[in-house]
């Protein structure tokens, strides 16, 4: 099978070297713990509610690229596409704790759920209070009445931005949790896969997709979506995607949304901008205003081609948290 060309050293060392390179790219703001698998901000204010995020590696810049003032305080990193271990999460938890408890924020996947839950129990034994908010924005991965079955995809970005701002300004863990839960209730995403990425260790693609096929709703790891079909022009494809998203959240004329286009890896800005053109036409038809647009590679799956559209329905509170200046490796506001 064709082995993907990648600029790496020992395939067994990619995660270790990536995290080392990332820590250096933070130019002094972040340190490594737990044998390098946990990244933590150097200067976390005392008495601050802490925000800990994390997940498998290979999706850079999420999660470990989102540490900084008004973003997250620490990240627990796993192997490629594998949730971090409880030990790493626990060590990160202790390191970011400033007496006000720690909010765990991560994508809703079996592995992450179990490992973070185990760590939460260990943290409780050590007297550290934690709360958990799992991101489940992917409308393709579960029915509206079972949202807790849905996966977390690009919505992670807005969740971290908002929870980070809340954790920096509110002074109780519950209050921060409430903001995150509120944001999640107003968040929807749907992606489309065009070409598979590959796992560095094996060089093999994470899934098979025909030369002229795309799959709407496919997950970042090749999890099946809502529909596999032959390559469709941008406008009809956008219509299909927006129909699913808009059918899942009630938006009335006059409502405002934030719009995020996430590149899974190899999709061009050109393609996403052409899609944005159509998305804006559809939203305008419904009288829905766009408050802010973000576009980039935030939640990737190696060199996978594809993108997702994320809609966050806004109110004044969410706008405030979204607008609050913040900076990290992956994004500055």
């Amino acid at each position: 099978m064709f082995k993907m060309k990648k600029i790496i050293n020992d395939p067994a060392q990619v995660v270790e070297e990536t995290l080392e390179g990332l820590t250096l790219a933070y130019d002094g703001d972040v340190t490594q713990l737990a044998g390098g698998s946990a990244l933590v901000r150097k200067e976390i204010p005392d008495g601050k509610v802490a925000l800990l995020i994390g997940g498998g590696s290979g999706h850079e810049p999420i999660f470990h690229g989102f540490l900084g003032p008004n973003f997250a305080d620490g990240a627990a990193c796993g192997a490629i596409f594998a949730a971090p271990t409880p030990d790493v999460i626990l060590e990160a938890t202790k390191a970011v704790h400033r007496g006000k408890g720690v909010l765990y924020l991560y994508g809703n996947y079996a592995g992450d759920n179990m490992n973070f839950d185990i760590a939460a129990e260990m943290a409780a034994e050590e007297g550290i209070e934690t709360r958990t908010v799992r991101v489940w924005d992917d409308v393709a991965s579960g029915p509206p009445d079972r949202v807790e079955e849905r996966r977390g995809i690009a919505g992670d970005v807005y969740m971290i931005k908002i929870a980070g701002a809340a954790a920096a300004t509110l002074d109780s863990l519950e209050a921060v949790e409430r903001v995150a839960v509120h944001a999640r209730a107003n968040l929807r995403s749907l992606g489309v896969a065009v070409r598979a990425g590959s796992i560095p260790e094996t060089g093999k693609p994470t899934f098979e997709l025909g030369d002229d096929e795309i799959e709407i709703g496919m997950g970042a790891h090749g999890e099946a979506g809502v529909r596999r079909q032959t390559l469709t022009p941008a406008d009809p494809l956008t219509d299909q995607m927006m129909e699913v998203i808009l059918g899942d959240i009630d938006l009335a004329s006059g409502d405002e949304v934030a719009l995020l286009f996430n590149n899974l890896g190899a999709t061009t800005f050109m393609e996403m901008l052409i899609v944005n053109r159509r998305v804006r036409q559809l939203l305008a038809e419904r009288g829905i205003a766009v408050y802010k647009t973000d576009m980039g590679a935030y939640v990737t799956s190696q060199e996978m081609a594809g993108f997702s559209i994320t809609l966050l329905k806004l109110d004044e509170a969410l706008k405030r948290y979204l607008d609050m200046p913040a900076s990290c490796f992956a994004m500055t506001r």
Binding site: G56, G78, A79, I80, F81, A82, A83, P84, T85, P86, D87, Y109, A110, G111, N113, M114, N115, D117, I118, A140, S141, E149, R151, I199, E201, T202, K204, T206, F207, G219, H221, G222, E223, A224, G225
Partner: protein, 202 residues
Amino acid sequence: MNAGETKAAFLAIAEAVIAAEPKLTDADRAIGDGDHGIGMKRGFQAVQEKLAASDPATPAAVLKDCGMAILSKTGGAAGAVFGTFFRAGGAALGEVEDLDAAGFTSFLVAGRDAVMKRGGAAEGDKTMLDALAEAIRQSENAADLDDALAQAAAGAARGAEATKAMVARFGKAKALGERALGHPDPGALTLALILEAWRDSL
């Protein structure tokens, strides 16, 4: 089976799982994200290190050490699942010096209960629990440990085979729905592999 023999068995199991990495990874590529073998290899390499550095006093200690090693080093769903399985299962054995058929089955049962509690899955959801449940049913009324291991290994293999006919309700395969049909669950294959290697180590 005493502590030393249990340790020897787990060194054999570790070798078998590590050797099966490509097979398990391919199984996960079919219905998951293609990292199961890689993760299990990480976990059982940690088991090897742990056992090389220690001589646990009881079978329970061996199982708990292995569970701890897997939990700390694997990550992903399998790390939590198999780590929890060996830790909780081992704990159920208490201080017994010699692992017999009944002890073995109680280990499987306690491990299963802990995994179900941890992950919320049940038999029929296309996870390692399907192999485990069948292993328990077969080993329950075994004559002795050899028989229990033989029965459990055979049952686990059958249980893993049976997952081909199932639609996943947990883990990354869940989203595949119908498409997962015909493919065995990677974790179930791993559990069968572990019990087979244990049996063969006798």
